[in-house]
Each structure stands twice: as structure tokens, then as C-alpha cells.
Symmetry: C2
DNA sequence: CATCATTTGTTGAACATTCATTCAGTATGG
DNA sequence: CCATACTGAATGAATGTTCAACAAATGATG
């Protein structure tokens, strides 16, 4: 089951801060060492606020309070609220990207296994938890009316989509399937995003486990020779 | 292709107003007859604003201006901004519901045809256009942090989901498929929502036509005996 | 090593703006 | 002339941003 949103607040940011202070010898602790750590801490607090209150109700005071810092701090590290939110979205994309590429790496050379791994990656705990899903949804809700968000999204999404298309093309050849690779890739990626959407909305009947079952059922019916 | 958002403003509301004034003899025209018509007009203006500016930037002044009326008008007809938004969401759900049920009706008794019609219904022009999709997305983005929206959504969504499950169960029997009906219904509905999401985000490569192709490809691979 | 100066991070009150809401007054249909 | 729809200026609350003062770390100096 997905964990609850309300509990974690600054804990995660504090972990990061502690970890950085531990392993980074070059990094100085305390007040000065902040810059990057503080920014991360504020970004985490922003994700918390987005998840708990939604985009429209996320305020600078909320973020500052969530990080346990003063009101003016955000404008010091990020120039404005808008830039904070863009940095937060960027951070979430970077994290997703890294996880995605790592999964692809881990899968080796077999395209069937690669596709399977990519699907699984989307439902990994580290990526797919209530807090982050809620933050994603908050951004998506505003993305269409904000060119900046849209630009950030579309370039990466197009890349992922192309990888899916390539994998579908390869599998079609080795399995003699009838589908059009572009079409099947769209159906697949749409379903993954739709399952995310379900998880984000927090309906009782959809959990990470059932979502993964659905994704596997799709693979089995679309590529029976590979996943049947 | 989907039409653009920016152009229609009050035109649609004016059509409705004109239409109501035309066919409703009992309804009085002009200033007095307003109540219901004005409310509809304001709801349409709200959808316009949600589509154009997003949830967070939708203001009462925006809605009033969009409807070509004065600033205080919304608080007169709806009590508050929150109630306006709830009424708007309700209106969109009612419209979707009506269209959905009509499609099911039209399909007759054949379950395969029923499922096909329901899928098509989701991509009908009257439901699936940029303006309304953008408004849906705006609501979804806020739904998780607003119990009222969530309550409005979940009850209906559960009903639709159950119909999908029932249809999948019936098709499984008549086609001797191996899947679990609940799982396949989740995969199907998730894909439909995911395709909506793609259309909402306005990526170039996804149009209503390609989305429908993807949906059909899914049906063909999941229920080959019925749609192959 | 002690002291001072400088740089850098941080604070919180003040400010300006935006926005939902209110309401006394106006216009209009019956 | 009454009831009702409507207006738009006034109000107050919420919020992003600024900035002068403060604190801590670092560096320079003797």
C-alpha cells in the first residue's frame, strides 16, 4: 500500500542534509555549507506542500514553515515562487530520469526484458508513492496553461516515447505481431500514465500492486509470445 | 484535430442562452428569466477560464469578464468561488454522464458493441475537446487535496469501473480469454484516462484520431475474438 | 593565537498587490 | 411601484517580495 502523505514533512530533507554532511568531506557543515543542501531542503518542502495542499494553495510561507526556516528564505535561494516551482519540477524530472535509465541499464540487451523493466520502474516505491504522485498531478494540472512546465515535460516525454516505439518495433519483428509500433507504444505509455493517475487520485481499489498487475496483463495480451 | 481554446470565450454560452430563449416558451427572456441561464453562462465562462489560465489563476473577475457581466455577479448567483467551482465540476460530470449513458443505450444488447461504443464515446468531439479536457485536468490537479472534488469524482468513477468489469467478465466467457476481468478493466480504463491526459497536455503527436487508434489496438489485442 | 573585518546565510517586519466578498444603490420587468 | 436581477466601488484578508538588521563562518592581521 502507498504510505500516507501527512507524516514526513521535513524528515526526508533532514536525512539528505545529514547524509550530505556525513559523506561529503569537502562540504562544510552548519551554516555555510548550505547553498545546495538548503535548496534541496526547500524543494522537498515544496513537494510536501504540493502533495498536501495542492498547487493553488501552496504558499511561500507554507514551504518555509515546512522546512523550519524563516519567511524570506525562499526568495534568497530561489529568486521567486515561480523559479522555486520550476526547480522543483526539474528536480522531480531528474530523479525520474535517473531511475528510468538505471532500470534500462539493469535490463541488459534483451528488448523484452528492457520493456518489462521500464514498466516495473514506473511502479517502484522510490518513484511511485503518494507524496510524489500528488506533486506530479499538481504540476500536470497547471502544465497546459504554463509554457515553462510544458516545455520541461514535452522534450523528455518525447524521448521516452521514442524508446517505447523502438522496443515495440523490435518486439513486433521477433514476435510477428500485427500491430503498428507507434500505436501500440502510445497505448502502452498512455496506460502507464493512466494507472499513475488512478494512484494519484487515491481511489481505494487501485494500489501499486493492482496497477502492476494491470500493466502486466497489458503486456501479456499485446505481446503474448514474449510475456504469455 | 482539436480546436484551439482561446477563441470561443462567451460564444458557446451565448448559443445556449439563445437556444434556451428560443425553445423555452415558459422561460422569460432578458433580465428576469436569468437564474438558470445566467448560472449556465457563468459555468461556461468558468470552464473557459480554467482552460485558458488553469485552476490557480482562475479568478472571479476573470469569470465575470468572460461572461461579459459585472464583478459581483458570481457571488450573487453562486454564494462563493468554491461553490461556483463545485457547480462547474458537477455540470461537467452531468454532461459526461449523459453522453456516456446515451452511448451505452445506442449500443444495444451486444456486450462487445457496448464496450466499443463506450470507448468511442470518450473520444467524441462533444466530450473530448481541448477546452473541456483542459478544464478536467485543472480539476484533477486539485482533486486530491479537496475532499469535495474527490467525493464528486469517486462515486461516479466507481460506477463506470463496475460496468467495465461486468463487460470484461461477459466477454471473457464468450471468448474464453485467460485474463482476470477486474485487472483487464483497470488496464482498459487506465489507458482511456491516459489517452485523455495526453490529449490534455497538448503534445503534438497525439490527436483524437491517434488516441482512438490506440484504444482500438488495445481492444484488438485484449479481445482478439471480438475485435480482431 | 586573538582580534577584527568581510563575506555569506538568515531573519522577520514592512510593503504592495491581488483577489474574494460585501453591500448600498441602480435598473428593469411585471 | 414592487420585486428582483444586477452593478461596481469599498473592504479586508492573504500572499509574494523586499530589505535593513543580524548572526555565523571564513579570512586577514598583528
Amino acid at each position: 500500500m502507498l504510505e500516507t502523505v501527512t507524516s514526513m514533512k521535513t524528515s526526508e530533507a533532514r536525512d539528505i542534509l545529514a547524509e550530505t554532511a556525513r559523506k561529503g568531506d569537502a562540504e562544510k557543515r552548519g551554516r555555510k555549507a548550505s547553498k545546495e543542501v538548503r535548496q534541496l531542503q526547500l524543494i522537498e518542502a515544496t513537494i510536501d506542500s504540493l502533495a498536501k495542499r495542492g498547487y493553488a494553495e501552496t504558499t511561500m510561507a507554507d514551504v518555509a514553515d515546512g522546512a523550519g526556516l524563516s519567511r524570506g528564505i525562499v526568495n534568497f535561494h530561489f529568486e521567486s515562487k515561480e523559479k522555486l516551482l520550476i526547480a522543483t519540477l526539474q528536480h522531480m524530472y531528474d530523479e525520474y530520469s535517473a531511475h528510468w535509465r538505471a532500470s534500462l541499464q539493469k535490463a541488459g540487451d534483451d528488448p523484452a526484458r528492457q520493456l518489462q523493466q521500464l514498466v516495473w520502474a514506473d511502479f517502484d516505491r522510490s518513484i511511485c508513492n503518494k507524496r510524489k504522485l500528488a506533486a506530479w498531478l499538481a504540476f500536470w494540472g497547471e502544465a497546459k496553461s504554463r509554457p515553462t512546465y510544458q516545455a520541461l515535460s514535452s522534450s523528455r516525454d518525447n524521448y521516452y516515447q521514442q524508446v517505447f516505439i523502438d522496443l515495440c518495433t523490435t518486439l513486433k519483428q521477433s514476435g510477428s505481431y500485427a500491430y503498428e509500433p507507434q500505436v501500440m507504444a502510445l497505448a502502452l505509455s498512455a496506460m502507464l500514465e493512466g494507472l499513475w493517475l488512478r494512484l494519484m487520485m487515491g481511489t481505494e481499489d487501485t494500489t501499486r500492486e493492482t496497477a502492476l498487475q494491470a500493466a502486466n496483463a497489458f503486456l501479456a495480451s499485446a505481446f503474448p509470445k514474449h510475456y504469455g
